[in-house]
């Protein structure tokens, strides 16, 4: 981006070196300097929206707050990650999030850590039952990693929500559950009921495929298709549930060993077999 060479700067007085284009957050994490985040994930584009990762940067006699997950340092920047100004801002941001999502344990822990006074911002219009903090990790993982674009935003401002287009069954959803996995506040869930996977917050049902050996419904059919296309699984294996696949593999392995064993004995070799079943 704007710098082509490594950048020398400091975090909390310690000299640091950032690779070209590397953010302050990344450098801090490499050096075990804690900075809280809620909307950041290494695998996804940073958007700098939760504002928890703010740090204070000084150069010359001036200073300002910057968002460490998107800010790439300049030469001789002095970064402080825990100044009173930083702590005040984080405390207020957490207070705002707690007012929206009082029952989220991640926020409760952060609130305790930063000394949030409880109950000051009790919303008067029913906001406050939420678990979603609108960090957007689920949307980004679906767009950028899964590539299905099944979920997105609706509206703007405080009315903004994460949902499927038209709040209806999302045809694009493959039921992979990446959104559920990446959610920092456990706001999303899925459940497998008989032959379907229900994406609970997204009004979406995806059919589960049947294992060709045991007949168990084990994974969404469209997901298996996609994985096959991307990962080139062996033709025979992709229609098996993990348990059957493991067993099949073990059987194949053992058959191979049976074949190898007599020869090995004949050669007087020691055959060291650890049964590490793989799928």
């Amino acid at each position: 981006m704007h710098q082509m060479n490594p950048v020398n700067f400091s975090i909390n007085g310690r000299p640091m070196r950032a690779a070209p284009g590397e953010t302050v957050l990344s450098v801090a994490r490499r050096n075990d300097i804690p900075i809280p985040t809620l909307c950041h994930h290494e695998a996804l584009t940073s958007q700098g929206s939760c504002r928890l990762c703010v740090v204070e940067v000084s150069w010359g006699d001036r200073s300002k707050l910057v968002t460490s997950c998107i800010y790439t340092p300049y030469e001789e920047d002095r970064i402080e990650t825990d100044t009173p100004r930083v702590r005040t801002l984080r405390r207020l941001v957490i207070e705002l999030l707690l007012a929206r999502c009082p029952n989220v344990d991640v926020l409760q822990r952060l609130g305790w850590e930063y000394g949030v006074k409880p109950g000051r911002l009790a919303p008067e219009d029913g906001r406050g039952k939420e678990r979603c903090i609108l960090c957007g990790l689920c949307v980004r993982v679906c767009d950028e990693v899964v590539g299905q674009h099944a979920i997105g935003y609706e509206g703007r401002g405080v009315e903004r929500r994460i949902t499927t287009p038209f709040n209806d069954h999302a045809a694009a959803c493959i039921g992979c559950g990446a959104c559920v996995y990446v959610c920092p506040t456990s706001a999303l869930h899925y459940e497998d009921v008989e032959n379907v996977r229900i994406m609970k917050e997204f009004q979406t049902r995806v059919e589960l495929a049947q294992c060709r050996q045991c007949g168990r419904r084990y994974a969404p059919a469209v997901l298996i298709e996609k994985v096959t296309r991307c990962a080139q699984t062996k033709e025979d294996d992709r229609h098996l549930c993990p348990a059957c696949r493991r067993r099949t593999f073990a059987e194949r392995m053992s058959a191979w060993m049976q074949k190898q064993l007599p020869d090995a004995r004949a050669n007087g070799d020691r055959l060291d077999v650890t049964t590490r079943a793989g799928g």
Partner: protein
Amino acid sequence: MMHKCPEQLAAVRKRARARQNHARPRILVGAATCGLASGAGPVLEALRAAAATGAEEMEITETGCNGACYLEPIVEAVLPGKTRVMYGHVKPGDAPMIIQATVNGTVYEERALCRVDADEILLEDVVAPYRRNGLDAALERIVARDAHPFFRSQRHIAMRNCGVIDPASLEEYVARGGYAGAAKALLEMRPESIIEAIKRSGLRGRGGGGFPTGRKWEACRKAPGEPKYVICNADEGDPGAYMDRAIIEGDPHSIIEGMIIGSYAIGAHLGYIYVRQEYPLAVRRLRLALQQAEEAGFLGTDIFGSGHEFTIQINRGAGAFVCGESTALMASLEGRVGEPRAKYIHTVEFGLWNKPSCLNNVETWNNVPAIIQRGADWYAGIGTTGSKGTKVFSLVGSAKRAGLVEVPMGVSLREVVEEIGGGVTEGRTLKAIQTGGPSGGCIPATLLDVPVDYESLGALGSMMGSGGLVVMDNRTCMVDVARYFTAFLKEESCGKCVPCREGSAHMLDVLTRICEGAGRAEDIPLLEELSVVMTDGSLCALGGSAPNPVLSTLKYFRNEYQAHIDEHRCPAGVCKALLTYRIVAEDCSGCDACVDACPSGAISGDYSEAHVIDESLCARCGLCVPACPQGAIILQ
């Protein structure tokens, strides 16, 4: 017709000017949105009908808004060889008299406002007097525009053509020196010297930030990466500000010309105009102007034979205030939602499609041709040390003479509000001036001597913004004003970052409960803390400046907050929940007029007996007050 060389442009100019100064009388009807909203359409029809019956040939055209919106519909009549007469509050019924007077070379005094004795062609530094023959007594009686209180201290540079030319005519724009600046820039100047001129002129962004325009252009020119883009921000969003609409509707070519000059200086070949869709007339005028400029060869390849290539595309904003923010605007141009991003990397380096992009607003682009033609020193000679040139303000609210006012930077707020605006509505007193729109603040009447320039307004906790000046009188509640702006910003927050999205909603909750008489002692410190998180923590300037209306009213009108919270009283008599309407028994004649006016059936009483208002039913709409012939209903 292709104007490939400046000689041809000069020939067109000469022809157009000759046509304009011919012997036929000419009538101009202010038909910008403000004119049309006050009935210019029927007036125009009536004038055309009246003119059709006469023998005399007469030209009747539409024009833009000259700023005196409080006088709309405005009609101007050019009396060849004499003067130009301005009429105000014209009704269709006045048409025959105006036509007759114009034919006779005199004035219909009933609606006459002032007369303009000379036509100033600003771009060429020419003042051409109309007056070659004597005026009759009636014309002599009309006040000259230079002596009219609304116009006398104004200086029109940005509005040089507004209300003077037919905005649908390229020829008329050219006749007043239009596109000569572009020709000069492209044929006689190097890009660097244009940038140098803009820098030396001291022009700063008129959209709000006030960033020096020349420096922005220079950074964009120097930024690596191709292609480069120039963008015109015509998504005028501040409620209470409408100068950009007036300039587009009245003088669309000035923006195109500014962008041609800018594109050449920066090295861009594609420009975008992002215009609000809520301004349908402006969109139409711009489209027509673009088409005309393309046909004339002012846009396209090899402009004026200079080899420079430039085209412009119009995009309509789809109704999001946040798109006035440059990164959000660019996201919107890319077909995405208007969400800002952090500006650690400037848009002059990584803007639209991550390419170097130079964004200026309408008024900024419109000033460029004037600077190129009249010179940087001329422009820098107007205004103050830090703020050069003129600025158009929309003087609205309870100003007596409301409209668009263009004055040199640095004149005092008092001069604008009291002398040009004529103070506040009769019987009221001036309380505050809200400047800078939702990101600005309220300046109390006691500080009216502040000069209007970027630094002085900023020092008072307000800002220049795009130039809205909303005059507020004693019947305006400052807590309600803070609540209004906070509601606006909550509605317009994109919702991407936590402080702006959640903070504005909580701020509105607090302000609403104060206005409803349920405020708590700890609410003021709470508002201040919410301001901190929004100012320090928001991702973009919309959220960062959102607390300004609250902070500035807290600073200057804290006692009003206290009255709401401690005494459950709204001193201005605005916050409905805190009002009580009462009928003074001694003054009530029992006529039932109020009973008929009351929509909620809250008033009762026997005929000719004193009536009473049931407070539990009263919706506090206030309709009973003007209905009472005795003036017996009072507000407590």
